[in-house]
């Protein structure tokens, strides 16, 4: 069998049951959050917010997860969640495909699957709660840094791991955006990988600046990377000479905004992501929606959301943090 034969294997699933938009949220639902890794600080915030939100509609929610960010470890957790007959699984996938098999098994047993933060393959979940449109994140990163470097000079990207799906999607849109003639004087010289490891990201930043002395800007669309890069730049002679932008949490970046190392960065509110995820899962499990495009559901105080193409629900545009507003946030 080769790749080409295999494509025919893909089966078309019959459209699921009808959605009933007026169905009330069921009581006593069991929701489970499965983060990439149990001690991922960012996802902890998401999950805790989601668990808190579940109380609003009398569901019991829990967070379980592996102590390492490996796809294989998530699989055994999914299997046990199926055994435990949860009503919905919310997962931030370490590998979009590796978790597919068991997730499909879950869906067959009428367990709803919602991906958040990091998507799985499209046919392995009903919904993907996207923090923001991937395309918008990717393009806006380039647009913002371009303004900061005045549409001139070399830039680089400091990503997480080589295989991080969300990162790679964003980077794809960044490269696409850069094709626009208005960026003709800008050049993306390198994509470096900090593996979402503080030390590695730190060292990669150093290396970038050494290898490309004319570097004008770095985009780091990962919270670990951007913080590490900021820390390196702030303590080096590059401070003020190199622009850093990316996705980071206000608490991590406050110091560098204040000392001028970083002018601005962006992120969505992870608490809202968790909140929305919980409501979306509940809506699915109660039959309000099925994950088809165009369906609408209410997410508590966040208001109404519409399911987009491929089952995507978009939280909203990211917040841009800078000197003026950073003290209004604490996460």
């Amino acid at each position: 069998t080769t790749k080409d034969d295999a494509k025919d294997d893909a089966k078309k699933e019959a459209a699921g049951a009808k959605a009933n938009p007026d169905a009330p949220l069921k009581k006593g639902l069991k929701l489970a959050f499965l983060p990439k890794q149990i001690n991922n600080p960012y996802e902890q915030i998401v999950d805790k917010a989601g668990i808190a939100a579940s109380k609003e509609f009398d569901a019991t929610a829990k967070e379980v997860g592996p102590s390492d960010a490996k796809a294989s470890s998530q699989v055994s957790y999914i299997n046990t969640l199926i055994q435990q007959k949860q009503n919905a699984i919310l997962i931030a996938a370490n590998d979009p495909n590796a978790v597919c098999g068991p997730l499909k098994t879950a869906m067959k047993q009428d367990i709803k699957v919602v991906a958040y933060d990091s998507d799985t393959a499209k046919d392995c979940r009903q919904l993907f709660i996207n923090q923001a449109s991937s395309e918008e994140i990717g393009r806006s990163q380039v647009q913002r840094i371009a303004k900061q470097v005045d549409y001139k000079g070399q830039i680089a990207i400091l990503s997480a791991t080589q295989n991080a799906t969300n990162q790679n999607t964003w980077i794809k849109y960044m490269k696409d955006e850069l094709k626009d003639p208005k960026y003709k004087d800008m050049k993306l010289v390198k994509v470096a990988y900090g593996d979402d490891d503080d030390q590695k990201s730190f060292q990669e930043t150093q290396g970038l600046l050494k290898a490309y002395p004319k570097l004008k800007g770095i985009i780091s669309p990962t919270t670990v990377g951007v913080a590490a890069a900021a820390r390196y730049i702030s303590s080096s002679s590059y401070q003020g000479k190199v622009v850093l932008n990316g996705l980071g949490t206000p608490n991590q970046m406050r110091k560098f905004i204040k000392d001028g190392t970083v002018e601005e960065f962006s992120l969505w509110d992870p608490k809202k992501l968790g909140y929305l995820g919980a409501y979306a899962a509940a809506a699915l499990a109660s039959g309000q929606i099925t994950g088809a495009q165009g369906e609408k559901f209410k997410a508590g105080e966040l208001g109404e959301y519409t399911v987009g193409k491929d089952g995507e629900v978009i939280l909203g545009p990211p917040t841009v943090f800078n000197k003026k507003n950073i003290d209004d946030f604490d996460f």
């Binding site: 102590s67 299997n79 055994q83 597919c100 098999g101 295989n163």
Partner: protein
Amino acid sequence: MSKYLRWDTAVGILLIAVFLTGSGTTEGFADTGNLSSALNDTAEIALIALPMTLLVVAGQVDLSVASMLGLSSALAGSLWDAGWTFEMIVPVCLLVGVLGGLLNGWLVTRIGLPPLAVTIGTLTLYRGLASVVLGDKAVADFPEAYGKWAASTETVPGTFIPYPIALFIVLAVIAAVLLHSTGFGRSLYAIGAQEDAAHFAGIRVKRIKLALFAVSGLVASFAGIVYTLRYGSARADNGLGLELTVIASVLLGGVDFNGGKGTLGGAVAGVLLIGMLNNVLTLNDISGEIQVIVTGLLLITSVLTPRVVAVLSERRHRRAAAVS
């Protein structure tokens, strides 16, 4: 303990105890579906543990296994992406595994480097090659027809045993016979306990070591294919860090890291014990970090208990001797 109960037997008993307690107290544990998937989750570890046991008995160790698994997976992915047939990919991956194992063995036997040092080096190298081969791509469109051979939902008819585990059982029996009832097995114990003496007894120490490393590479690359099919995903970082889990399982089963001691049954019991225990704990919503602690404590207990028992029986003996 040494006299009445060996540690590897104790691990076996512990395994049964966990199984019984799990069935009694934990809903969903004794479910065949759960057992199939829990077993299947240990497939790669179990497979790699077999040659690892032989290596450790012979006083060697191979830390590069997880990287070789990743390399094999990455290679399978990139060849599949390039339009190769699966029937061609598998032999190529296995060949690479053997070559990688031979490199380890060559460095150990020819250059005379300690295996720990060599395989820490190749651990980095093979993982690096995996990333060279596949880069940041993830290949996932493997055919269902093959995937099902590795899935936990497909079992040997009439049982709850998935195919990778069935294969593991066959290989484990072969390995057990090899280790415990053949001259080759005897040589391994001799090499592990005292290499010089084995050499002087005309045992082909270098050749045997080379063969062991080659087999270890072969099985690791095979485990890479199982992994790829089972998760339907070929990535350069597949199986990252698995080497320590494999070694922990083998050591838990009472195989002596210094070589010359241990049984294959013990090692297999060690693998299954960690797998079953984690499954029970997960079903009881005990989170990952506690499972890690439990694994660590088990490992420490595994070496401490025989010691304590030995010291106690020594005391008893001395008292008896003094009285008589």
